[in-house]
Amino acid sequence: MIDPLIVATVEYGGILSVMCIGLTVTYQTTKVPNFAYADVVVVGMTAAYFSYVLLGLASSYLTLPFSMLVAGAFAVLMYILVMKPLIKRGSSILNLMIASLAVDILFTGVEADISEIGIVPFSRAFTHAGIPVLVEAPPLPDFNFLIRNGIQIVHTCPLASAGSCIPGIFVISPVLLAATTGTMYLLLKRSRFGIAMRAAIENPSLARVVGINVDRVYTVSWFIAGALGGLAGSLYAIGDGMSLGVQNTLILDIFAGSVLGGLSSIYGAVIGGLLVAIGENYVITVLAKSVNSQLLVLQVGGVSMIILIITLLVAPKGLVAVNWRRLISRRS
């Protein structure tokens, strides 16, 4: 067996970094910190459960395309219904931030109302599938890699296992993160759309002059960001299960990771997300064991808020903007 702490760190690192990439993409396009981004993740999470139960999928990982589509559509809706009209009106960044906060509150209300009343017709189907209610749901079933004379794929680990057992998410999460980063690289640097997107981000009016449909580019970017949120939501459902309202703590981690990465580059977002996940899962647990067990309460949001505040005070442009070479040579 691998240390469950490392499993949790790797799993969450992958998920968080994907979400940070998504937030960075929305920040790049509309230049507004989107406080409602975690809601997109929760939509993806819910879509994962619904598609798993209602479609009777064979594996939890088959829910990925569904949750990506639904979450992407949700993000596009948010962009078209709220952000785009506001930007057209010439709203300030502050008003856009408040609008995204309002979307978050609105979503919280809808979520609570659905979980209180609307879930009743569904609850029977869910109970049948072994998932009692949707408000607090156990993780979707995951497969395991059993290492014993080669690698086998099993559904449940044998209790007295002769070999070692690795949960599937431990491998899938970093693999998907790498795949996402690679795809984003290819998309941005090698495809026509990516070049148009970078142009539209860099200088919207100039991009318009050369004939790029900036509006469509932004809509597609928001869809990509939403789809990444859906991907992360689905993985979160497999790794940790779901509890409605989880967006309130998720958003703190997403912002910490993205700001640490600089909110300007995808690679920064990956690094920031991984660092926050390591700090929040691994470092704080080790510190709590060796220094003071009270520190463990910082795990939910505390570490990420400390990281966020320190980053904004010391290097507001994030890790990618720090001139490391100069910093190192000055010291030596």
Binding site: V82, N95, M97, A99, I105, G109, L252, G302, I306, L308
Partner: protein, 378 residues
């Protein structure tokens, strides 16, 4: 069905929101500082003044215990008995919490001004939001501030008023609201108000005119934070029990929703940098808030729906307020970004006086008020 309690609640919450949103309007509306960490200043003022007051009262009444928070219900009722016969001491403690709230608020405002004059507005918003979250976590799990997971039952400083206490609290909040309203109106009409708007709208121009942008921002942040701290301190009179985990959520007595998002909702609904607008916005928000959390649920029990259905319905009504308020904010931002009563240009003298002077000088009267346009810089 008794209507007195909901009405009292409405009055108290309304006064609190008028006061709090006016302070937010001073920093966000007039000065352009996006204080997304409003809850931090209110909660710090409230929680710290409560513990300080409680500890002072313990010393005065010679009460000792290993865990002062666990025994706070018992101690506080002992203190209450003492305070009932000693109104002077109760008044002194009241002054103490107001002082502590103001000092804590002003100190935090000074601290917050360090990033506030250096960071871009969206980064500043994120920073303050994060600081508020961190403080909520701290109070929820670190006992010495407000008992942590245990609640702190505070002594009832208004115990001398007996059953009239509810009305006294309402009067106190109303007085504070009226005071802050007149202060804000005075600021709005004074040269300071025009300076603030200049700092908000065009930093470089105001600097060129010799205004000290940094100092002005710092002062406004400190003043409005001190007022927020006082409101937080008064809030414990109303609750008489504080804790970082009341209701099971981090934030406890001072949830982010009620003390950051709702003041912003009020300012956006009513009108940025418009004091009358803020009052109107507070009325609208309080109607929705008290209606969905108190009035309608009371009606649900009154019409005799019982059991699980009643609970479900109450919860449903309760969370509908988020939908209503979230939608309202988005719609107002889309349709009328200046708010219901938009910001008006303020003149150095009365308009009639200006006209008189203009006609005496043989000039045409000053230009009519501009129609509402985006008051915050784009």
């Amino acid at each position: 069905m008794d209507i007195t309690d909901p009405l009292l609640l409405f009055g108290t919450i309304l006064s609190m929101y008028i006061a709090l949103s006016l302070t937010l309007n001073l920093e966000f509306g007039f000065t352009g500082l996006p204080n997304f960490g409003k809850v931090l200043f209110v909660a710090a003022g409230g929680m710290l003044s409560a513990t300080v007051m409680y500890r002072v009262a313990l010393v005065l009444f010679k009460l000792h215990s290993n865990d002062i928070f666990e025994s706070s219900p018992r101690f506080s009722s002992t203190i209450d008995v003492g305070l009932a016969s000693n109104p002077v001491l109760a008044t002194e403690l009241l002054v103490l919490i107001l002082l502590v709230g103001a000092v804590v608020g002003a100190a935090l405002g000074y601290l917050a001004s360090y990033p506030a004059i250096r960071l871009r507005e969206d980064y500043l918003g994120m920073l303050l939001l994060g600081a508020g979250e961190l403080f909520a976590l701290l109070t929820a799990y670190y006992p010495p501030i407000a008992g942590g997971p245990e609640n702190l039952t505070t002594p009832d400083l208004l115990v001398g008023f007996g059953s009239a206490e509810k009305y006294v609290i309402l009067v106190v909040f109303a007085v504070v609201a009226v005071f802050i309203f007149f202060y804000a109106e005075r600021v709005a009409k004074s040269p300071l108000g025009r300076t603030l708007k200049a700092v908000r709208d065009n930093e470089i121009a105001s600097e060129a005119l010799g205004k000290d942008n940094i100092n002005i921002r710092r002062k406004m942040l400190m003043i409005s934070s001190a007022l927020s701290g006082i409101i937080g301190a008064l809030w414990i009179l109303y609750w008489s029990q504080i804790g970082g985990l009341i209701g099971g959520d981090v934030g406890g007595t001072f949830p982010r929703l009620l003390f950051t998002f709702y003041p912003f909702t009020i300012v956006i609904l009513g009108g940025i940098a418009s004091n009358y607008g803020v009052v109107l916005g507070a009325v609208a928000l309080t109607t929705v808030y008290v209606g969905t959390t108190e009035l309608l649920p009371t009606m649900v029990t009154a019409v005799n729906i019982s059991g699980q259905n009643a609970n479900l319905l109450t919860d449903f009504i309760n969370s509908t307020q988020y939908i209503i308020l979230g939608t309202l904010v988005i719609v107002v931002l889309l349709v009328r970004a200046g708010g219901i009563i938009p910001e008006k240009p303020s003149y150095p003298l009365r308009k009639s006086k200006l006209k008189e002077m203009a006609s005496a000088a043989g000039e045409p009267p000053p230009a009519p008020e501009k129609p509402d346009s985006e008051p915050v810089k784009a």
